[in-house]
Amino acid sequence: MRFFAFIVVCLTGALLLYGTGEFPDWGDPNSPASLHLSNYYIENALNDTGAPNFVTAVVADYRGFDTMFETAVIFCGGLACFLLLRDFREKKDHYYRHIPTGVILHVKDSQKPLTIGKEFGYMDKDWVPPDLIIKTVCRILIPFIQIYAMYVVAHGDYSPGGGFQGGVIFGSSLILLAISYDLKTLVKRVKERVLGIFAAAGVLLYAGIAALCMLMGGNFLDYSKLAPLVPWNSHHNIRAIGMLGVEIGVGIAVMAVMLIIYINIVSEGRHDEGL
């Protein structure tokens, strides 16, 4: 196998290097790749779309259709993990920890579960006592991370950022919650049902705005036709507003899918214990 792999790798590498032979030098401003379309985007993006961040203009407007399916790819990823791993069977045995004494209780055969509160806590097979410093720091940090995530989504037109980045930051703030406390804390606060609805609704917001353009008489995704819907808008390019809308949709979907993938993988689909 190794020998075969080595041969394949050498052949492919040689082919790729042969193809780069005629490339213009790295960073050459006059290479065709930097002239044909790129110049149009750089020179006209601001006038066309009102977004000074050219990447966002290309992502959400000129090639917005790609981005819609890219969001669909992420949605597929989450859905695939859910379909593959989610295990709805209830676990029969439950372990609880009596907090004041530290005694561990074992409840067998799905008897009535104990209520979790001051007296009893959950007990997993890899439970470690929560660290006060970590918990406190994370509790303080998480809201700021979330605010920052929203900032990144909202300023996607003006600065590096956008729906994906913001969504990932928001999702990781919630994953931080799961890591610093435990998975149950996260699952209790953010229900699986909510995540499922958010993931679909986020992509749907994108596709919905795009389809709305079609209903308003334009082509699919043609934001310029949305102008009659926002009559109070006077000094913003209507396309920038459409872009903000779809970025929010992307952010919601990405946030939900990050969590779906994380929760399903760490708990092997049971949503009870894990990292």
Partner: protein, 132 residues
């Protein structure tokens, strides 16, 4: 010799991407452990991102965000040579998302396979399959 050297220096990003990509490809084909294969796959996809981003780079140019959107006189002339190519960054945003989704799903599959066979080594898996 100096010709070859200057060729490599002028295009070293492309050489690096090929090397990185081949490391990933080798890992995908030759490694025995499924997680190592999955990581190899991720390296392989990341190499493509390096390639595209290298294509979009221009000397003496900055990130593709308009630097002087609101100057005192209103409209300003935009020089295309001042900004790197926004299109390749945009394309790679998509490729990153694809590789994240594939990576997440491949990991989920590994979890599933481990649940069923208690191993992630390919030769052991093959042995288990031929026994059944």
């Amino acid at each position: 010799m100096s010709d070859v050297l200057s060729l490599i220096v002028a295009k070293y990003n492309y050489w690096l991407y090929v090397i990185l990509m081949m490391i990933g490809l080798y890992g995908m084909i030759a490694k025995n452990n499924l997680v190592k294969k999955i990581v190899g796959m991720n390296i392989f996809q990341t190499a493509i991102i390096l390639f595209y981003v290298s294509v979009g780079y221009k000397r003496d140019a900055t990130i593709p965000i308009l630097a002087n959107a609101h100057d005192a006189h209103g409209a300003t002339a935009i020089h295309a040579a001042d900004y790197i190519n926004p299109l390749t960054s945009c394309l790679m945003l998509t490729a990153i998302v694809v590789s994240v989704a594939t990576f997440g799903y491949a990991m989920a599959l590994a979890v599933r396979i481990y649940q069923r066979y208690q191993t992630l080594e390919e030769d052991e898996l093959r042995m288990r399959l031929s026994e059944e």
